[in-house]
């Protein structure tokens, strides 16, 4: 038996009309930038649309805030990573600073990698980065992190499983 979609398109249309301005304002208070606020509000409704089969409308504002908060966290996370990237750039000797274009590419790539590793505990994350970005052997990683060789193997297994799941989400039935 197929369940009824919890949110019909017309209901989402109504939701949009009634709460879009409120949501933009809510986001604006947090972001301080009207463009970012408008973008994130739009993204919020896009999420509602794409997930409508799984959503049940109990309290419209609570639902929108929940989704918008998730997007805000992503937004801030990107900003924080960008800041860490800039600080790392500042610590490089001038001769080694990559071109602006290479910087932009590397930053985008790092944000994508971060997205993939997002749900992993720190030890797993560090193990994977040391192996894949630094090219260290498991022995070296075990020494550096002060863990056993078999832990390193377990961490790598977990990280690969997370990457695979991020890239190939399980197909809906």
């Amino acid at each position: 038996m197929k369940p009824q979609p919890a949110l019909s398109l017309s209901l989402i249309g109504q939701l949009y009309q009634e709460h879009h301005r409120w949501l933009v304002k809510w986001l604006y208070q947090r972001l301080g930038c009207p463009h970012d606020a408008a973008d994130l509000a739009q993204d919020t409704f896009t999420r509602v649309l794409s997930a409508r089969e799984r959503l049940y409308l109990t309290e419209a504002k609570a639902l929108l805030t929940l989704i918008a908060k998730g997007l805000l966290i992503d937004h801030y996370r990107r900003a924080v990573l960008q800041q860490q990237f800039m600080q790392a750039l500042a610590s490089l000797p001038p001769a080694e600073i990559p071109s602006l274009e290479a910087q932009a590419l590397a930053l985008e790539a790092l944000l994508a990698v971060d997205n993939m590793l997002a749900s992993l505990p720190d030890a797993v994350r560090q193990t994977f980065l040391l192996s894949q970005l630094q090219g260290l052997s498991y022995q070296q990683i075990a020494q550096q992190l002060g863990v056993s060789l078999s832990s390193v193997q377990q961490y790598m297994t977990r990280a690969y499983a997370a990457c695979y799941a991020a890239a190939y989400p399980a197909e809906p039935l």
Partner: protein, 335 residues
């Protein structure tokens, strides 16, 4: 057809073994035998291998490796900062922190990283925008562009930070001219300045310098060491180090104004780089395919559909790993 969960787990076990830094030639051979046992084995293996390749492409240079580790390794610190932002609602504080560290940057140019962020006229990736200035000058900003205007009684000055802009300089009204005499129109860039001589021209940031294309009138380039006048119908690229040779104008260079990307026998590698400017993320092209040529008129508003069209026209496979990462590969995966 997705490989079974069990097969994926086996593939991961092989990958973990081979990446250890202690794998023997016998391990590699055994992994090859395992892949040959079943098409699902091979598929799962190739997916995993493709996943880890981009990670290594991120870090070819030691400097980038350093940046990557500094940016990503300390997740606890990252999450703390994100939480603080969520609680204190101080997005602006982050901007200030960024600018605080910027004074240290050895970028070799007076442009500081926060300037583009706070610039008067900006577009995000995939956006464009039209701006009219007080003197009648029209600016068309292409994707991911930032610039500032700074007009005073003696000069009309623009500061170009990054991206691409098409300028049509305004003719000041007689009343304005009477007040201010004739004010020169200057565009300052990281690589030198441009003086417009009543004109329509395109300024674009390139990897090695600034590209200038003149459609009407003329523009004088001054990179601090040399000057060169570029006439209508000409283009060139310049940097602080040198001013490149004058070439004849590529009329397709301003097609983005109409939302189009025009390719005439353009190498695929260059085509993908162009397309990449209009979407967030990274498109990488297998070097073996970079010299394939592509022709056509493509809509810039829908980069994903253009990628689809590329796949339908050329003998290539477009693989999207997640939203940000697209790779263009040969059609049949090679072992």
């Amino acid at each position: 057809m997705h490989p079974d969960q069990r097969v994926v787990e086996e593939a991961i076990a092989w990958m973990v073994t081979l990446q250890s830094g202690h794998a023997s030639t016998e391990d590699h051979a055994a992994c090859l035998r395992w892949q040959a046992q079943h098409p699902q084995h091979k598929l799962a293996w190739e997916r995993l291998r493709d996943l880890s390749q981009p990670m290594q492409q991120v870090a070819p240079a030691p400097a980038i490796k350093h940046l990557a580790m500094q940016t990503l390794a300390d997740n606890a610190r990252t999450e703390q900062k994100v939480q603080a932002l969520m609680q204190r609602r101080q997005a602006l504080k982050l901007l200030l922190l960024v600018s605080g560290s910027a004074g240290l940057l050895g970028l070799g140019y007076k442009q500081l990283p926060w300037q583009p962020m706070l610039a008067q006229y900006t577009t995000r990736v995939g956006q464009n925008k039209r701006v009219m200035l007080a003197d009648g000058t029209e600016l068309l900003l292409n994707t991911a562009t930032a610039l500032d205007s700074d007009f005073d009684a003696s000069t009309r000055r623009l500061r170009f930070y990054h991206g691409e802009v098409l300028l049509t300089t305004g003719h000041e009204s007689p009343a304005q001219q009477a007040n201010t005499a004739h004010r020169p129109f200057i565009v300052e860039t990281a690589q030198g300045s441009l003086r417009a001589l009543g004109t329509r021209f395109l300024v674009r940031q390139r990897e090695q310098g600034i590209g200038l294309a003149v459609f009407e009138g003329a523009v004088e380039v001054n990179n601090g060491a040399q000057r060169q006048i570029v006439q209508a119908g000409q283009q060139l690229e310049f940097s602080r180090a040198s001013i490149g040779a004058v070439q004849s104008l590529n009329p397709d260079a301003s097609a983005w104004v109409d939302g189009l990307l025009i390719a005439r026998a353009m190498p695929l590698g260059q085509f993908l780089q162009e397309l990449n400017r209009y979407r967030r993320g990274h498109i990488s092209c297998d070097p073996a395919l970079a010299q394939l040529t592509i022709s056509g008129v493509f809509p810039l508003q829908q980069p994903e559909r253009v990628l689809q069209a590329v796949q339908e026209t050329l003998p290539v496979r477009v693989v999207q790993y997640w939203h940000y990462w697209v790779r263009v590969l040969p059609p049949a995966a090679q072992a």
